[in-house]
């Protein structure tokens, strides 16, 4: 166990935890941010995707020790009131079914749009391949990312 300081959604947290604990469980069970989901525990499904210093990472395999001192953003941190262009597009196109994977989908898509404001279908496929959806919302996710790009680019 160790004292670990985390910056999550611009807030500082001091937690006492095993540095080998994946960031996912610290976010969910210690800090109480439940929007980041557990799906596989081995970086296969993307349900746990968060931003670590602006990069999309799978928090289920990101050790707390590595996350310390970096800027962490979770789904709860991308807007206060579902005002992020991706959230608006997701609502407009009614993307989610069960919704369980959607936090991770949106966090991956956010990095894509920051890096590439005009993605093609192929760009979207490449960026989003790490995020599984068992319900089958893929075709809507593709459309919603295009729509979010439109909203962002005014």
């Amino acid at each position: 166990m160790a004292n670990i300081s985390l910056t999550v959604n611009k807030k500082q947290y001091q937690i006492d935890a095993d540095p080998q604990m994946p960031l996912l469980w610290a976010l969910r069970d210690i800090i109480g941010l439940k929007g980041t989901k557990f799906g596989c525990g081995m970086a296969q499904c993307g349900a746990c995707t968060v931003h670590l210093d602006g990069e999309a990472v799978r928090s289920c395999v990101t050790l707390l020790g590595r996350a310390e001192g970096q800027e962490i953003v979770t789904i709860e941190g991308i807007s206060d009131n579902t005002s992020h262009p991706l959230q608006k597009a997701w609502i407009e196109l009614q993307v989610p079914q069960c919704g369980y994977c959607q936090s991770g989908q949106i966090m991956s898509a956010a990095v894509l749009l920051r890096e590439n404001p005009h993605p093609t279908d192929q760009d979207i496929d490449e960026a989003m391949m790490g995020n599984l959806c068992r319900c089958g919302t893929y075709t809507r996710i593709r459309k919603a990312i295009h729509r979010a790009a439109e909203i962002m680019n005014g």
């Binding site: 166990m1 935890a17 095993d18 604990m21 994946p22 469980w25 969910r28 069970d29 210690i30 109480g32 941010l33 439940k34 929007g35 980041t36 989901k37 557990f38 799906g39 596989c40 525990g41 081995m42 296969q44 499904c45 349900a47 979770t74 789904i75 709860e76 807007s79 579902t82 991706l86 959230q87 997701w90 609502i91 009614q94 993307v95 989610p96 079914q97 069960c98 919704g99 369980y100 994977c101 959607q102 936090s103 949106i106 979207i124 496929d125 490449e126 989003m128 391949m129 995020n131 599984l132 959806c133 068992r134 319900c135 089958g136 919302t137 893929y138 075709t139 809507r140 996710i141 593709r142």
Partner: protein
């Protein structure tokens, strides 16, 4: 607006008495129960504060004097949209908008009847009943207003939760009327709205759960947190029916945070499987403790089970005479005397449901007699009955809180994980959250049954069918899950739909050959139709090819001479898919339909192949026949989802056993279709209105894979008879 969001939690202490507990079982806020007709437990009245009176107009509608209107939703939402579509049935006729109501999930209370979402049954089963509930509520509120104004009821109308007096424009909110209204007799035959006046039903109405699901605010079972809660991670044996001989927890107990171990049994259907849970103050510690635990299992000989061997057994049984499930005319004679005879064996594998949210449940005992669970499940009533049966406590002593489910697909019909959590919690002083790993979810079943189909058809020289046989060879769900010794009743569920397609097939004799297995098998989205439809519709395609006919025209002109819903569906598919438009070289189209208990749907799939081996899906067209539709956009989503799930089932991994356990453990070796592999699906709905309502969640699944395989045959000449197949190299 969601009670889900207030999960920090109504019941905080174990000091509740039984009376409080039962009251809380019905409602999260103490309710004034005045409804008649649906509920007979009297005229109890509780003021929940000096100026706030809560009235339960009937078990489904709760109106507070503040104006807050709550609607009870008996159908859990696992992604199929029932959080919107089911409350909408009440809201439409009650004349309230979905924006002004709270939606609460029922908890398995008897007065709500069936509370299980499965079999594509939520809308079909609730449509008439819940519209009537809403209409009766509205009539009571209007009558209450007319009595207070002393005006004719016909001068009053309701809109958006307000009753108006037309001539004067006076109005009362529902909140102002509820208490009086609740004392009126419940109209037994209230007038339902004319569909032309619908504001919600039949519209692409936005679902109220979507904003929650894009902001991380939707609460799933796995997100529940209770004061003082501990966590459990359990060791189950991946070889079924194993007994836990002993274990060594030395290393486990060294892990910081681990508190204790609890032995328990996993109850699945009639089975009890040994298991042991590690309890810790964080999930991570519990999971580490489980990894460190050394368990010693007696496999009882079940470690020799092997899928390749089992499949050979099924193949060898294809010639066996089975139980006849349908017989019309003289199949044997007609088949043997037919000028053209074709036979084929189709092989469909076992699969795992693999919803994205691993199985989990949080449980807490209130004293020795009362247990409360928080769970993602397809049915609160089934959670209750499973816990009651296995823990031997009365159903009334169990409170069930249903949260959003991160997928279901049939897996959450079986509430073994809820019974597990309740069993573990009984040994603890605190609430406990049990979370399965993905590995447990993949390896422990219950699985979709594998089915093999031996097909035979006799054709005339002109291609007309003279004889037809579909023989299913498979283990059954009931025999494995419920451990039934008498398997004679299993044949109908294992031959779902094969004798009831609209096709005019003379001398049809269908059979079922039962095969024993010890692996637990259960319903997987679209149940047995998910496998037998593949054999059925690919073989019809084989018949068309042998007859030298276009496969869609063969169905329409040779097999469907009379009008039927299936014929209408195929004609619609022909039109929307531009079936007659020529395709480029290397392309192919395939068609398939299936009608079964859940409903009726069909696909045309277009594929291309540059090398007659690697397949690219160009476009998918789907028609679903519903009769009446509640939310067309939700229907489209369900079909898109069913097509995706069917594509995974057709082209990714099966569940296969080696040495008694599954080779597949997690998504690296049990992969799902990813975004780059999913084509556009164009969905068309046939809904002419009227009383006939078909299901939505499942009919999109069975016909997808046969339409794809038939398209691949059209493009490459290669006939696929075994799933899964490699789409990059057929």
């Amino acid at each position: 607006m969601l009670e889900h969001q207030m999960i920090k939690v109504a019941v905080r202490k174990s000091s509740l008495d039984r009376r409080d507990f039962l009251r809380l079982s019905g409602l999260s806020s103490l309710g004034l129960v005045l409804g008649l007709g649906w509920k007979s437990d009297g005229q109890e009245m509780i003021a929940a504060g000096a100026d706030a009176v809560t009235v339960k107009l009937n078990p489904y509608i709760i109106i507070e004097s503040s104006g807050t209107i709550s609607i009870m939703n008996p159908m859990p939402d696992m992604g199929q949209g029932t959080f919107q579509s089911v409350p909408a049935l009440i809201a439409e006729d009650l004349e309230v908008s979905l924006e002004q109501i709270k939606i609460l999930q029922t908890g398995g209370e008897k007065e709500y009847g069936r509370q299980t979402a499965g079999g594509s049954n939520s809308i079909r089963g609730q449509y008439q009943k819940l519209r009537t509930v809403g209409a009766a509520g509205k009539e009571m509120l209007i009558l209450a207003a007319s009595q207070r104004w002393k005006v004719p009821v016909t001068d009053c109308y309701a809109s958006e939760g307000i009753v108006y007096h037309k001539p004067t424009g006076r109005s009362f909110t529902y909140g102002e009327l509820a208490e009086v209204a609740s004392q009126l007799p419940v109209p037994q035959n209230p007038q339902l709205k004319d569909p032309k006046d619908f504001k919600i039903l039949g519209k692409n109405y936005p679902r109220p759960d979507v904003p929650l699901k894009v902001s991380g605010k939707a609460v799933y079972g796995i997100d529940v947190e209770l004061p003082g809660m501990v966590y459990a991670s359990a060791a189950h044996c991946p070889v079924f029916n194993s007994k836990l001989i002993n274990y060594d927890d030395t290393e486990t107990m060294r892990i910081k945070g681990v508190k204790k171990l609890v032995r328990f049994q996993r109850a699945l259907g009639a089975h009890k499987y040994d298991a042991i849970a590690v309890i810790a103050d964080t999930y991570w510690a519990a999971y580490q403790g489980k990894l460190a635990l050394k368990t010693n299992w007696d496999f009882g000989g079940n470690d020799s089970f092997d899928t390749e061997k089992y499949e050979q057994t099924l193949r060898d049984m294809a010639g066996n005479e089975g139980q006849v499930v349908h017989s019309d005319g003289d199949f044997e004679n007609a088949f043997h005397s037919a000028p053209v005879q074709i036979t084929a064996l189709y092989e469909l594998p076992m699969l795992s449901h693999s919803p994205m949210e691993p199985q989990n449940c949080t449980a807490q005992w209130h004293g020795k007699d009362l247990v409360e669970v928080w769970v993602s499940s397809q049915g609160a009533d089934r959670v209750k009955s499973e816990i009651s049966k296995n823990l031997d406590i009365p159903a009334d002593n169990i409170k069930v809180n249903i949260l959003f489910s991160g997928g279901g697909f049939g897996r959450r019909l079986y509430n073994d994980y809820a019974v597990e959590a309740a069993s573990i919690a009984r040994e603890l002083e605190t609430p406990v959250k049990l979370i399965w790993t993905r590995e447990e979810d993949t390896q422990l079943g219950p699985f979709r049954p594998p089915t093999f189909s031996a097909m035979k058809a006799g054709l005339a020289a002109d291609g007309k069918p003279l004889a037809f046989q579909h023989k299913v060879i498979s283990p059954s769900m009931g025999s494995t899950l419920e451990d039934k010794k008498d398997t004679s009743g299993e044949s109908s569920s294992m031959t779902e739909g094969i004798s009831t397609q609209a096709y005019e097939l003379p001398n049809m004799k269908n059979e079922y050959v039962f095969s024993q297995i010890h692996i637990p098998l259960a319903a997987w989205r679209s149940v047995t139709s998910s496998t037998v439809a593949f054999a059925h519709e690919c073989f019809i395609d084989e018949m068309a090819v042998r007859a030298g006919k276009d496969p869609l025209d063969y169905r329409l002109e040779t097999l469907l001479t009379k009008p039927s819903d299936t014929k209408r569906l195929l004609l619609k598919l022909k039109e929307v898919s531009h079936w007659e438009k020529p395709l480029p070289d290397g392309w192919g189209r395939g068609v398939a339909q299936y009608e079964f208990f859940a409903g009726l749907g069909g696909y045309v799939v277009e594929v291309s192949s540059k090398d007659r081996s690697s397949i690219y899906i160009e476009k998918v067209y789907m028609v679903i026949d519903l009769g009446t539709v509640v939310n067309p956009d939700t229907v489209a989503l369900q079909v898109e989802g069913a097509a995706t799930m069917a594509l995974t089932a057709a082209t990714k991994s099966a569940i296969t056993f080696k040495n008694g356990q599954t080779r597949q453990t997690n998504f690296h070796n049990y992969p799902l279709v990813r975004i780059n592999e999913m084509p556009e699906v164009e969905v068309h709905i046939i809904a002419e209105g009227g009383p006939k309502i078909r299901g939505v969640g499942e009919p999109g699944l069975p016909p997808f894979a046969p339409a794809l395989a038939n398209a691949i045959f059209a493009a490459t000449g290669k006939r696929i008879r075994k799933l899964p197949f490699n789409i990059n190299q057929v």
